[in-house]
Symmetry: C2
Subunit: 204 residues, 2 copies
DNA sequence: GTGTCTTTTGACTGCATGGCCAAAAATTAG
DNA sequence: CTAATTTTTGGCCATGCAGTCAAAAGACAC
């Protein structure tokens, strides 16, 4: 094993095992919370010995990083085309919010796990995922700023503050998915409306 | 000691010690994150033995609950008069958002700690603070619904979804306070504007 | 079937945690 | 000053954690 592992460096079986472990880890985190998601618990969920995890991953950090990497890749793959299909600022913003929340609705565990991992590791200490969070905000802020300059949005809001608010509203959803009274589609509609009204020159 | 402790049940010195420990615990949580805020760390910050904490509190849960209780009480004391001074729906909503964020700005550690405690303990397992979070959302939702019925707000948004979004935007602030580039006053202004535009019939 | 390589097991380490407690120290009362 | 009480100390548990490892089990080529 080299330090820079590629998928092709590993056998089919090995890759399947890794995928299996990643999946179990996602479920475990979404289920019992990041703080309680120990290697032992993940192993029990799979019915294997926890040594197997150590064999296939260099450590817990490696496993967690792999979760974040995989989920964000899938989320990006789902969202990106939907966002890029739009042309105007308001349309893009709507597609951004909607595709984010749709992905959460259809893959509830995955983003729940990632949001929790990022939050838990960022709190207090420096984390390998700080750049991840700030990166998402920054990309959104740039987007807002671009279309603000183009006149698609009102000129007098701070793109950075707005981006933080938008992401806050989106990232609050996973933690509510467990509540049966929470209607994420309804929530998405409200979020779209609020930020449309909040960013555009004219009302709805 | 009885199980239902009142302040008056304890000596002055004892209450002072408790307050001191609570304060140190708040700072520790805000500093190193809830996950790393062990009794040992809190004790070191105070320069005392960790047994002292066990002596003054029935356990870690007790200490944490006391933090939440005290901070929320202070926050309520700050916010409530400011909110009740308003009469119309939009004014109340503005006062709600502004007073929340002002309290965070002036007491950065306190609400950082509480938000993190509530988030960390709610994730995955059932927590003594679940009702706390849902209660805050519920109160806000009722408020929105009341003034929606009165015609102060547009009639076609879901008060519950809106309340969740508003709290999400507010609760995202503490985690950003450490970032020197984050201007919480600016953030408050944008939040007020967004939700004013999002809830009212006419634009800004 | 034999030998090689991969994978899994289960026991083990070292560490940090929350909680506990007897003895020491400090405080207060008489 | 002495005795009773409150408070603090520092060491001690049991538990759960991530990570390690030798040995067993399995897969597979020949």
């Amino acid at each position: 094993m080299q330090s820079k592992d590629t998928d092709d460096n590993r056998s089919f079986v090995s890759n399947a095992r890794r995928a299996q472990i990643v999946e179990a880890a996602i479920e475990t985190v979404a289920d019992v919370g990041y703080a309680n998601a120990s290697l032992a618990r993940i192993a029990v969920r799979l019915g294997i010995s926890k040594g197997v995890i150590s064999y296939h991953f260099s450590g817990k950090d490696d496993l967690i990083a792999e979760i974040v990497r995989q989920v964000l890749q899938r989320a990006r793959a789902y969202m990106q085309p939907r966002i890029e299909a739009q042309t105007t600022g308001p349309e893009i913003l709507r597609a951004y919010i909607e595709s984010n929340l749709e992905f959460m609705r259809d893959n509830p565990n995955q983003l729940s796990a990632v949001v929790e991992i990022v939050r838990a590791t960022i709190a207090g200490a420096k984390s390998p995922f700080t750049g991840n969070r700030d990166g998402a905000v920054h990309i959104l802020a740039e987007l807002l700023a671009r279309f603000q300059a183009a006149g698609d949005f009102r000129a007098d809001f701070d793109p950075n503050a707005m981006a933080i608010a938008i992401r806050a509203v989106i990232d609050a959803a996973p933690g509510r998915l467990a509540d049966p009274a929470f209607d994420i589609d309804r929530y998405a509609r409200e979020a779209v409306t609020v930020f449309h009204r909040g960013t555009c020159v004219t009302g709805a």
